[in-house]
Symmetry: C3
Subunit: 212 residues, 3 copies
């Protein structure tokens, strides 16, 4: 007779499942922010109202991030590696910070005519946010996280291409250096948001591979 | 009869306490640098002497950081998590680096008239440094670290506000693009120093919560 | 009679040695990229061909980085700390990314006359890459890694000096703000590459000290 002391699928210590719920909330909040940003550039009206809405959503994001990190510091057993929880929360927070940063630049620089690339980049950020929101719950179900990560990376490459072309063209066309500085920075902030979304995808990939 | 093999408060292996002394020295050195910076912008005379003094203090900071990291790599039992020691040393080092970076910008760009926001931001950096120096020893006494962290975060928000307004106003007022580039960068460097002070506070909060 | 259950030099679990081979490949690929960059600025002809070659090398580097990180996530016993493997791969990748970024700036900004400092900085990046490639295999042989790390840090200080002087001089000389923006950014990207090489050296130093 043999004893199976550790039957599969019956964990000895129940893992705290609600980190997943918190990350789901974070990624949905990110989609909310990215949607307003995409709408802002697609339809450049009621600009200050949309910027305020982004700021509000970013504050919600700050609170969610803080809750996850506080919970992390008070939890002994975590559903995946502590450092990965920390990195995932931070990178999701960074994407939303940069979305808000783009909004703040518009107000600070009184940008009345954003470049077409801004709308393209905001659309890419929204697509990445949607992919992130799809990938997060798959971590729990051992679903195919990697497919979504690959798409997020592909989108980041696309954003890179869009922003390089837009900045190259800006230097060709814009003769007013002060305006050039403003538009260049707006494009760079948006492009950096897509980098941070890729960072979040890298963490998801790491977690998926570790548990494969 | 029952044996208490692990009586509380009598650690089996004495923890190396002197990391606290080193962090105290680091945060006092940071106050020294932040004080010269605040004095520089409050009284814009003997500028190059003050910049040199900041550079000297920054070199001391580099040595202190290097000592902590070397000790960390050679120490088996640490008073709090290794990665938190690493992050705390790095972020305190970053604040002082950026203080020095602001000084270097003044020399490199031959800035003769710093904007009023520079004095405000330097004052905020000094206040944050003082809060950090108060919080560090509380780690050891289980004191109320979080209160100081909250104040440091509040100061970072204030710095954010100050720098956004100052940069917005700069774009309104300054018609010379080269001068605009110089002043904008000085403000951004100072604002980034307040971000790094917040990073240091976040590590302190993490350590305090883990040991709560 | 006494048993030596753990004879030295006969590890119970064989450590996966091929991480070293992968890091050797990464640092050789970095030298390849840095060589083309140094050649580009030393002899400013066939510029677009050289930029394309840098981009090709950077893609190879991306694949190598991805292989190391994938292997890391699938390996239980690593030859040195997981987080150090991650940081080393990331920082080596960052240096090559920035080399490619410098090439991309030249194309994007249509820079026809790079400043003399670009050649100097590219030469420093190449020297740092060569030192990194020498230090990596020494990790395995307990060789003197620290000497190479010190040289990499010295080179970073030199690059700092070169770039500050070059930017200071640029602000003196260049009256066209748009051209100033382009050249300033090129110098900054190159200087940041030397910072990332220093980050890689810091990881090597950490690993060497931990195993001392």
């Amino acid at each position: 007779m043999s004893w199976n002391l550790f039957p599969k699928r019956v964990p000895l210590i129940p893992k705290d499942i609600s980190f997943f719920a918190m990350f789901a909330e974070m990624s949905n909040n990110l989609i909310a922010g990215a949607s307003v940003l995409a709408d802002l550039f697609a339809d450049y009206h009621e600009v200050s109202g949309k910027i305020k809405e982004i700021r509000r959503i970013e504050h919600v994001g700050d609170d969610l991030t803080h809750s996850i990190l506080t919970k992390l510091n008070q939890t002994f057993i975590t559903p995946f590696d502590r450092e990965d929880i920390h990195k995932l929360a931070s990178s999701l927070d960074d994407v939303l910070d940069l979305i808000n940063s783009a909004g703040a630049r518009i107000a600070m620089y009184k940008i009345t005519q954003p470049p077409p690339a801004a709308a393209e980049l905001a659309r890419i950020i929204l697509l990445q946010s949607q992919e992130l929101a799809k990938a997060v719950p798959l971590l729990q179900k051992n679903g195919d996280v990697l497919l979504h990560c690959m798409e997020i990376n592909r989108l980041e490459n696309e954003a890179d291409q869009v922003s390089r072309e837009a900045i190259g063209e800006l230097f060709e066309r814009e003769k007013d250096p002060i305006n050039l500085i403003k538009i260049k920075e707006l494009i760079e902030v948006l492009e950096t948001a897509t980098d941070k979304a890729e960072d979040a995808a890298d963490v998801l990939e790491t977690v998926a591979l570790k548990n494969a």
